[in-house]
Amino acid sequence: MSNSMIIGQYVPGESFVHRLDPRSKIAIIFFFVLIVFFANSVMSYGLLALFAIGAAASSKVPLPYIMKGLKPVWFLIIFTFLLHLIVTKEGDVLYNLWGWKIYEEGLVQGAAISLRFFLLILVTSLLTLTTTPIEITDAIEELLGPLKKIRFPVHELALMMSISLRFIPTLMQETEKISKAQASRGVDFRTGSFKDRIKAVIPLLVPLFVSAFKRAEELAMAMEARGYRGGEGRTKLRELSISKLDYYLYALFILLIIGLFLTRS
């Protein structure tokens, strides 16, 4: 369980999408999310879908993994579609099912919004499928770099994310250990009255927080001992670099934007 947690949804690979610089991927996704809202014709939606599905295909991530990322929202995509189908009462009546009328506008709107939804989710989940959490953290630190000028603690945020990622597996083991230790002492939050169950949670949480505070103190001390003094002048273990592939992506994306504005109605 702790392993699957830290790798996240990353699927290792060597594809075009995997080898892109994480900064490029994040920037492109950011702009993609913005331009999705400009699409308003069949052609423009088609172009966006082509880009998104093309990206997913070229990532060579097996389809089941992509579907897994979409799983939590399938329901909502369908729900949105049906909702618009039922609620919208404009345009021609397309079909009459025992007095329940389906209108043209409802069908169009439902399809457009659920497609928009699908594209957003597909593209954003592609980022986490092809990039490790640590790479994304590094990229975020670099991309938000300019915000340091307005005193936004970019370095600190990235550091905190790294520490947090580092400690999830450790604390997870700790939690398991504590719950086993307490269970052997007779603590049981699966049976008994409502009040007993809640009370049983407390002997699990107190040791967890105590050990968390202890670990935090140890880590802070170790960092100080090694001379940590903030982001200023710190060098990196992993350096990011922009390659030729990234320029291809930019060119492709600019073409997509031009295409989108030409096909809008």
């Binding site: 699957s4 947690m5 996240g8 949804q9 990353y10 996704i29 990322g69 939590p72 929202v73 909502l76 949105t80 909702l83 618009h84 609620v87 919004i113 939804f117 957003l120 989710i121 954003t124 989940s125 980022l127 986490t128 499928l129 990039t131 959490p133 994304i136 975020i140 600190e156 945020l157 550091l159 905190m160 994310m161 520490i163 947090s164 990622l165 400690f167 999830i168 604390l171 997870m172 939690t175 939050f189 409502f194 169950r197 809640i198 949670v201 407390i202 949480l205 107190v206 967890l208 927080f209 105590v210 968390a212 505070f213 670990r215 935090a216 103190e217 880590l219 802070a220 960092m223 100080e224």
Partner: protein, 189 residues
């Protein structure tokens, strides 16, 4: 130097609480009728133990590690698609909720009554943030999104708020007794 060291400790504490929130979010307490996920509970706990500022920072870090694809949200969900998706507003709501819950407790006292009040207000804040995002992402009207995002959660939310305050205050008292946190959190650097 002292200030630097204080800052480093705040930083590490917040990160570790973000990690704890991530773990608690995966745990379910099997209660009759409403099994409660540790996610909401962890928000209340973090705010009660760390206070407003650090609590909110911890929640931001939690949202951020979720955004980079670690499945830290309830039910092993993760990735930026959760944050931009229809239920993402609730996650952003946690940041606001932690801050507001913390600040109410700091301005008054850390006891059960105040904790209940603070947690209920925190819950309302979470629901409001969640509903606003739900409305705009799914393109619903206000009354539809209230029906989907607020009404079904009120009763469960009240139970959760009550539990979060009860457990939160108890755990806090133990930690204060063991001298891991101070009686009233002083303003962190």
């Amino acid at each position: 130097m002292n200030q630097q060291s204080e800052k480093l400790r705040t930083l590490v504490n917040c990160s570790i609480f973000a990690a704890i929130t991530a773990i608690l979010a995966q745990i379910e307490i099997p209660l009759p009728l409403v099994p409660i996920s540790g996610q909401t509970l962890a928000v209340g706990l973090t705010a009660t133990i760390l206070g407003s500022r650090q609590g909110a920072i911890a929640m931001m870090v939690y949202a951020a590690i979720g955004a980079v694809g670690v499945p830290v949200f309830a039910g092993f969900k993760g990735g930026a698609q959760v944050l931009v998706g229809p239920t993402g507003g609730y996650i952003f709501g946690f940041i606001a909720a932690a801050f507001i819950t913390g600040i109410i407790l700091e301005k008054t006292r850390f006891n059960l009554t105040m904790a209940m009040l603070a947690n209920v207000i925190g819950m309302v804040v979470t629901l409001i943030c969640g509903t606003i995002q739900l409305k705009f992402i799914v393109d619903l009207t206000w009354s539809e999104s209230m029906a989907a995002g607020v009404y079904p959660f009120i009763v469960v939310g009240l139970i959760k708020a009550f539990l979060a305050s009860w457990i939160g205050i108890t755990v806090r008292q133990r930690l204060v007794k063991a001298k891991f946190i101070k009686e009233t959190p002083k303003k962190a650097a």
